[in-house]
């Protein structure tokens, strides 16, 4: 016999049946029946954050690190609008989330009721899909569809907006959960066209100067293994986008580092001079291509992507393959297996040598940490290297947005997918700390570091309280240059050093005391000599949140840096040298 339950109870049951173990949220008027049903069950754990934006970022960090969808509950009006930045962040990076928002009672919709916002309208441009629940009976089905849509095809956030009266006990329904969802208007293509795959194979075997350019799509489809196998069989060099770091082990000789705006010299040069680009789960965005009209003109291009709209959007490609990166790469590998004799690694040896020369000329200096700088100030890159050494390259690293993010992407050598958690597409300051919370909930025993700056951390600093409540031993590595570093860098380079609203030297909090007032450990590092030992001490405190506030050289810029509206080969190499 089926259970008669309220809409709120049905919601809880459906979330559980959809596989939810943990919710991130914040209660409020329109969500009170939902929170009451939550109170009366124990299958799902709820994490109370301090701001709805953080709830979404935490669910996002949970999803990115674990591969499972993140789930959020917020109330109507300001609860819903506060969640929007988090939703937009997840949308830009194709992260699967289900966000439940309370809504005012159905008869009040459209009357400017207290805490009413048209969440369907407000969220529409930043969700994969959204649902306004019209009948309590629909709740289980809609939740099932929401999870299916969020996690299949190109993943993304789905909002389910539920009017308060549909969750009260007046609406009783027969609960049943149908996991097999069919939506006639939504059928993601996963398989890849066999003809196109064959054409791709031909190009792969012919190329003398190939590059594999892979992005977040490899991580979201768990295709890292296939990517590594392909690169090794063909002996192709690999570059990763900011979103794709970790999909290919950074310690491998074939790895070129990140490409694009702040990509390595060798990655950008290899792309620019290649005769074949195999793009896998990457979308040729503007931080990668620079001027699309000057992008890798000599290269044929193969593009594997689950989203047909990503193909030929910015760069026209020779072989488009719509499908899951995992499935398509596996199919290519299977075909290669039969054509092993056609693989000629010798043919690409000169190319590898060329890349080695580029790396030698202008590659990143991974021994910076061993060299004290002339002004004895700590370089931000040295902070990342110290972090890398101390965590042996095996931590989950979340980041905020700005210079510290780029330094982390350049200097922390990620060996595994889902270890590097950052807001790549939207570039959301304030992402790092709540995302780290989500990671720590997904992996309670893991080492989680949040690389941040004194600007970004203050955008979600209130979550230090959440960390206390749940005893999260996150290590906050605050790369403190007392300025909005990336803004300052652009102002230094392009606005004759007019630092418009990018510094605040005399108004920063004492982060050590701040951390302590939240019940955590705070540590300050000012001198280069203290860096390694402080890092060691910080990670020794395995059961504590440590806020490591490190003063760094405020004048350091992130290099290489592409010159706008030019090609991938046109880079600033440092403050004085450029390639063109």
């Amino acid at each position: 016999m089926k259970n008669r339950v309220s809409g709120a109870e049905a919601l809880m049951l459906a979330l559980k049946d959809a596989g939810t173990e943990i919710l991130f949220g914040y209660p409020g008027g329109a969500a009170l029946y939902i929170y009451d049903a939550l109170f009366q069950q124990d299958a799902i754990k709820h994490i109370l954050v301090r701001h709805e934006q953080a709830a979404v970022h935490a669910a996002d960090g949970y999803a990115r690190s674990s591969g499972k969808p993140g789930v959020v509950i917020v109330t109507s009006g300001p609860g819903a609008t506060n969640a929007i930045t988090g939703i937009a962040t997840a949308f830009m990076d194709s992260i699967p989330l289900v966000v439940i928002s309370g809504q005012v009672r159905a008869p009040l919709i459209g009357t400017d009721a207290f805490q009413e916002t048209d969440m369907i309208g407000v969220s529409r441009p930043v969700v994969k899909h959204n649902f306004l629940v019209q009948k309590a009976e629909d709740i289980p089905d809609i939740i099932s569809k929401a999870f299916y849509i969020a996690t299949s095809g190109r993943p993304g956030p789905v909002v389910v907006d539920i009017p308060k009266d549909l969750t009260d006990s007046n609406h009783q329904l027969n609960y049943s959960f149908n996991k097999d969802v069919h939506i006639r208007s939504y059928q993601p293509q996963n398989e890849g066209h066999p003809g196109q795959i064959k054409r791709a194979l031909k190009l792969l075997l012919e190329s003398k100067q190939p590059v594999i350019y892979s992005g977040g799509g490899v991580i979201s489809a768990n295709a890292s293994e296939e990517l590594i196998e392909l690169a090794r069989i063909l002996d192709f060099p690999v570059t990763n986008t900011l979103m794709g770091l970790g999909a290919y082990p950074a310690s491998d000789d074939r790895f070129l580092g990140m490409l694009g705006m702040h990509g390595t010299y060798e990655a950008n040069m290899a792309m620019h001079n290649s005769d074949l680009i195999l793009a896998v789960g990457a979308r040729f965005d503007d931080r990668i291509t620079n001027d699309p009209a000057k992008f890798a003109l000599k290269a044929k291009k193969i593009h594997i992507d689950i989203d047909p709209a990503s193909i030929d959007k910015i760069i026209d490609v020779d072989v488009p393959i719509v499908g899951s990166t995992k499935i398509v790469l596996r199919k290519i590998l299977n075909l290669l297996e039969k054509k092993k004799d056609k693989i000629d690694k010798k043919k690409i040896e000169p190319w590898h040598l060329k890349i080695k020369t580029w790396r030698k000329e202008h590659g990143l200096n991974h021994d910076l940490l061993e060299e004290k700088s002339s002004n004895s100030k700590i370089l931000p890159q040295q902070v990342i290297q110290a972090l890398y050494q101390e965590t042996k390259g095996d931590a989950f690293v979340t980041s905020d947005v700005g210079q510290h993010q780029m330094f982390a992407a350049q200097y922390y050598k990620f060996e595994k997918p889902r270890r590097w958690i950052n807001s790549g597409g939207l570039g959301t300051m304030g992402f790092g700390l709540p995302a780290a919370m989500g990671v720590q909930f997904a992996f309670p025993e893991a080492t989680v570091a949040c690389v941040t700056g004194e600007g970004s951390i203050q955008m979600c600093i209130q979550e230090l309280s959440t960390c206390l409540q749940y005893g999260l031993p996150i290590k906050i590595i605050n790369v403190n240059n007392a300025a909005l570093g990336m803004v300052k860098q652009w102002q230094d380079m392009q606005y004759d050093g007019r630092l418009s609203q990018s510094t605040y030297q005399d108004s920063l909090p004492d982060f050590v005391k701040l951390a302590e007032s939240y019940g955590h450990v705070g540590m300050k590092v000012k001198k280069y000599e203290e860096l390694k030992s402080a890092m060691k001490e910080c990670f020794k405190l395995t059961d504590k949140l440590v806020f490591l506030d490190i003063d760094v050289d405020p004048d350091e810029h992130v290099y290489p840096m592409l010159e706008a509206s030019m090609s991938l080969a046109d880079m600033h190499l440092d403050k004085k040298n450029k390639t063109w």
Binding site: I120, G121, R124, P125, K128, L132, R184, S185, A309, K313
Partner: protein, 161 residues
Amino acid sequence: MQKVISLLMENQAGALSRVVGLFSQRGYNIDSLIVAPTSDSTVSRLTMTTHEDEKVVEQITKQVNKLIDVVKVKDLTGNNLIDRELLLIKLEVNTKNKSHLDKTNCSILSEEKSLYVAEFIGTSSEVDKVILSLQNCPLLEVVRTGVSAISSDEQIFSVKN
């Protein structure tokens, strides 16, 4: 050149706003857009026209197709396209106007008091011509439906096919 895109979408609250929202969100310029239910009550058919270039039209079809409520999209532009627009106009009753209306093949639907309401059905450019030749009458009100279109192809554009 005018391009015509047709799409079938679930007849659900909010479906149209997703399509229209997408155009402004991605900066696509749409010349006309009409939508109405079909013989299948679960589906609405939407027809839009645009002068965007082929690359943009390809993006429009792909992006629209990604919307969960959209069942099918087709670029109907081509030789087998049959497109029609309905024009409704209002103008003063007098013999000069009557003869202009007759000359341009407009049918008079009503002749209340001192005003004609007339209609014309034709392609967009025919409608343009009618408006141009009547503009000095003068035309007091002009209402156009926007382009409705169907292909004479053997291939049927429906949810099932």
